[in-house]
Subunit: 489 residues, 2 copies
């Protein structure tokens, strides 16, 4: 929540009152034309003098942000400033702001290790198949090179995907598959389709941090349930469905981000049963599927795409530069989704679809994903051992994937460690960036594929800096390790 | 508007009352939890008996669409069906539904002429440069092939774009340019940034039809002003800004879609002056820029990107398969736009950006666009002559581009002609698909690059069918040619 209490040096109080009002306007808790709190009420709640509020309101009037209607009060001006995503939802510390963690990783130079990011180094991806696919597409027909793509996407790629999903237990015909420009864009399109502003959406605690940023853009309320090593805590899940009536649940099943946990068949069954009872729709984000040695249960497979929609992409094992994702959905929802896709994107990303199809059809790609799995298995084991030497302990041993979700030595706060690491030029992914309920302050997500000698050196320096600061500033209370719900075992 | 009056055979009345309620719910004029009209009130307004409404409400309760609260009335169920874009806004005839016209063109087979579409045949685009670019990128570094793109987009492409925009009179630094996945997606991102549900947005009458579909997805109200051969009718523009207080105006300047008109410097000046007075933001969609022989005035150039945002793409001359667009915007709006881009799309379309950069850097591309301009000039002249022979008259002679905006012989209705053409397998673009105010029923947009012998044959057959139907059904009143406002001269 936006903190409304103003505690500052006198000279800064007017500015702080202005910031509070501007924050509420940016966050749309005060909409265009809305009446502002009375001068007296705001002075009381903010703990400042009436004259401070009067002066702040006068300056906001001068700026054009609010208008004064004599005898009636102050109102938000009819023309609002554009949407500031950072101002929507909780005002987070930079080190744990999901948008900021994503952005720093995306903007970092190629080749710099990024232990906080959610992807493999480019050199781990399908380089040789991609080069071959580019040469092959350079000889394709002119329509493939320059024409608009069909709204559903390239038919042979949808056929191939239908077979691949079948192997993972998700029976889906090519006509139930729509290609998108990325996994994120697939979820975004579905949120537009399924949600109204003000709806409630359920996520896992912890969950992939961009879910929260995306949901902010849709102006919905986010609630969460603790995630256990077998899936969402089913008791909390039942209670939350009953109490909060979420319209949608967004989750990863096969390899959960950030914990690396795997949904068990029993939990999957109970999640779907509760979803049926409460009319809940589920988006299952399956972008890590290629990392699995054997398929874990999929909600979409159990459910037969009745109330579960599965999305995926190729950015984790094939290429993050060739943008392409997909949506597997019940047939009667495809038509309105096609309309929304045309309205918001127009044609499909045909060239990317041709390239993805060429790579997936290349026999090398299967061998490539097997090699990546083995390489990740080794990296999880080695990086896990070295982290333990530093007192950093994985919450569980994931069966696949690139993430280790770890507690820190001496119950340290991961935001503090992330801040210290940043001073050494390294972006980490502290637990609360993944936690809508802010209960994961004691956790840090490490990407094992991005941990090289330099990362470990920077991590050691950051741990030392945090420890020294603690000794040097004994007044700072040591925060207890925040519980991760019942899942923390 | 959804027609609420029920006029049908008795056995269908219950179903029609249900359809009216379902339509209002789909269009969100009845939101989740909203109270339905009383049985008596609806019976009166719909002209049906009370028992018909009671039965319709009971069936809707059985379906779970609405709930009954005894002693209080009927309410929309708390869980709504997903958004149906077609149900938002006016219920249009299929032949003039913007979404349907787009979709038919996108789904038509490669190589089939599509006189209703807004793009050139793929064979007219930058085929040789594209093949060369694909071969060249196949030898690029692995990060270009497989790594995530930076949120703002590929730096050398932004530098090149900055120079190109400068040549068109739009001074913009590379750091003010953000690359997107397409021109449509650029406008969509900006709408998310600038608009709130319920805002009012101004478009031209007529305007590019996908603006209307896109704006429906943003749940805003659309108003329009007539477009003249020199830009929007400035008197109507002034009146509408004062009366409707739109927050945003979306337009094409250089080559207006669908009319082919060109904004004059005087009108540009007056539009910007009025925008200043009313605090209006403008999105200038400049996707047809490559077709211009010499640059026409740009609102973004006059304004210096103060309140104008320019967007563009490469789909019209380079490739529609390689998706890439851009946004040129004032510097202080970039940061929140980057956040929104990450939240809704995550990484940039790096490979596409590499390909576009390679093509634009190829000396052949300049010669290619010159050749396309000449080819379009010849096609406009030839197709214009042949259309005139059929009594189809261009509203003006565009100085560039692929469109001829024409009136039909004997003041015929273009939706009727589009319906007849559809029966012959040809999708046309009738005037009212472009007209939010539905004032362009007498116009048809022809894409001169898509008019081959087969198209003319189908057009002649369709004209004949419409003429014969009129003779055969003298009772059908001939609709007068709807005026295109003052612009029609």
């Amino acid at each position: 929540m936006v903190t409304d209490t103003v505690q500052a040096a006198p000279q800064g109080r007017i500015a702080q009152v202005m910031a509070v009002i501007n924050g509420r306007i940016a966050a749309r808790s005060l909409v265009a034309g809305a009446r502002l709190p009375s001068v007296r009420a705001l002075a009381r709640s903010a703990g400042v003098s009436v004259s401070t509020v009067v002066e702040a309101y006068n300056r906001l009037v001068a700026e054009g942000t609010i208008v004064s209607r004599p005898g009636s009060g102050f109102y938000v001006a009819p023309q609002l400033a554009p949407m500031q995503l950072r101002a929507v939802g909780p005002q987070l510390d930079r080190a744990i702001d999901p948008l900021w963690v994503s952005r720093q990783s995306l903007e970092a130079d190629d080749g710099v290790p990024k232990p906080g990011c959610g992807w493999l180094p480019a050199a781990w991806l399908a380089e040789q198949s991609l080069r071959k696919a580019l040469r092959s597409v350079s000889r394709a027909g002119v329509d493939a090179l320059a024409g608009y793509g069909a709204p559903l996407g390239l038919p042979p790629l949808r056929q191939l995907l239908s077979r691949r999903l079948g192997e993972r237990g998700v029976e889906v015909s090519p006509d139930q598959l729509m290609l998108t420009e990325s996994g994120t864009q697939a979820i975004d399109l579905l949120c537009r389709f399924l949600l109204e502003p003000g709806d409630t959406v359920l996520v896992d605690d912890p969950c992939y941090f961009n879910f929260q940023a995306l949901l902010r853009a849709h102006r919905v309320r986010v609630v969460s349930v603790p995630y256990t090593p077998n899936g969402p805590d089913i008791e909390a899940f039942a209670t939350t469905l009953a109490a909060e009536k979420p319209r949608l649940y967004i989750t990863n099943s096969a390899i959960h981000n950030p914990t690396g946990a795997t949904l068990s068949p029993a939990v999957a069954h109970r999640v779907l049963k509760l979803a049926d009872q409460h009319g809940l729709t589920i988006i299952e984000d399956d972008i890590f599927a290629d990392f699995e040695p054997t398929p874990a249960p999929r909600l979409a497979g159990f459910d037969g795409l009745e109330r579960v929609i599965q999305i995926g992409s190729f950015s984790k094992t094939l290429s993050a530069s060739v943008r392409c994702g997909f949506i597997a959905v019940r047939p009667d929802w495809l038509e309105p989704l096609i309309d929304l896709k045309i309205a918001t994107m127009f044609g499909g990303a045909r060239l990317n679809e041709e390239l993805v199809h060429a790579v997936l059809s290349d026999g090398r790609f299967h061998r490539h994903t097997e090699a990546v799995r083995l390489r990740l298995e080794r990296a999880r084991s080695e990086v896990g051992d070295r982290l333990r030497e530093l007192g950093i302990t994985p919450w569980l041993e994931p069966r696949a994937g690139m993430f280790l979700w770890c507690t820190l030595p001496d119950g340290r706060d991961s935001a503090e460690l992330a801040r210290a690491a940043l001073a050494h030029g390294m972006v980490l992914a502290p637990g609360n960036a993944f936690s809508a309920a802010q209960t994961a302050g004691g956790f840090m997500r490490f990407n094992v594929a991005q941990m090289d000698e330099g990362s470990f050196a920077a991590l050691r320096r950051a741990l030392r800096a945090v420890a020294e600061r603690e000794v040097g500033e004994p007044a700072a209370p040591q925060r207890p390790l925040a519980p991760l719900g019942r899942g923390l075992g």
